[in-house]
């Protein structure tokens, strides 16, 4: 039984990006650290990262975004140290 699970957080100055399930398998990776440069990446959003990372499919069609483990809008500006996850369609219960 698992009640609480801790995951390592992102390094300071970086954005930790996580993929899950089918999206992870389509992309071929589960986790990346994006070096958030304050000059180049000010106001960087999940939508922009989705495009920069050339992730498969349409972000608006079936993928939800979470920032620091809360659902968020894909156009929310990211901060260094944030944990960003792209979540394919959920099927729990």
């Amino acid at each position: 039984m698992v009640s609480v699970v801790f995951m390592a957080g992102p390094c300071a100055g970086e954005i930790r990006i996580l993929l899950f399930a089918g999206l992870r398998e389509q992309a071929g990776w589960a986790e990346q650290q994006w070096p958030a440069n304050p000059n180049d990446d000010a106001g960087l959003t999940p939508r922009q990262l989705w495009l920069k990372l050339q992730l498969p499919g349409d972000l608006d069609q079936a993928v939800r975004v979470s920032i620091n483990r809360q659902f968020a809008d894909a156009d929310t500006p990211l901060q260094p140290g944030d944990e960003l996850a792209f979540l394919p369609p959920i099927s729990g219960g």
Binding site: M1, V2, M7, E25, S66, R69, I90, G92, G93
Partner: protein, 150 residues
């Protein structure tokens, strides 16, 4: 409001968990629920395409899944004014017939208990980060892109 949420990486017997939870409620709480509603979900033996199902794989987002289950449960329970809530969910490889989810609600009246149980179940199916992958008897597999109809 008393809330208990657990993720199980191995099989659990819902009726055993439920009995233990009811015993705990009677010992801990001054306010006894007069109405209880339960839902137990089990894995089907048939895949979405009609072929025989070998197993279901349940992936989750460690850290966020637990937080999101708690947010959904607190929101639903507070709206319905219920007394207690139990959510048990499997992760990992689950075999046909095994329990995948248990939701139990204790309340003062049957209406809030039943409504809260159904709403929380639907909420966690759609808004708690779990992903199901069907493993078929021929060794093939597929991630599901949604839930079965209500």
């Amino acid at each position: 409001m008393q809330l208990r949420i657990d993720l199980h990486s191995t099989g659990f017997e819902p009726l055993v968990v439920l009995t233990r939870w009811q015993d705990e409620q009677q010992h801990r709480s001054n306010v006894q629920s007069a109405a209880e509603a339960f839902f137990i979900g089990r894995v089907r033996g048939v895949a979405a395409d009609g072929r025989e199902l070998e197993a279901l794989e349940l992936e989750h987002y460690p850290g966020m899944t637990e937080l999101q289950l708690e947010r959904l449960a607190l929101d639903c329970c507070n709206r319905h004014g219920v007394i207690s809530c139990l959510v048990q969910h499997r992760i990992g490889r689950v075999l046909p017939g095994e329990a995948i989810v248990l939701v139990a609600i204790g309340a003062d009246r049957r209406g809030p208990a039943q409504r809260c149980c159904q709403e929380l179940l639907e909420a966690l199916k759609h808004h708690a980060p779990f992903w199901k992958r069907e493993w078929r008897a021929d060794g093939s597999s597929e991630w599901l892109s949604g839930n079965t109809p209500l």
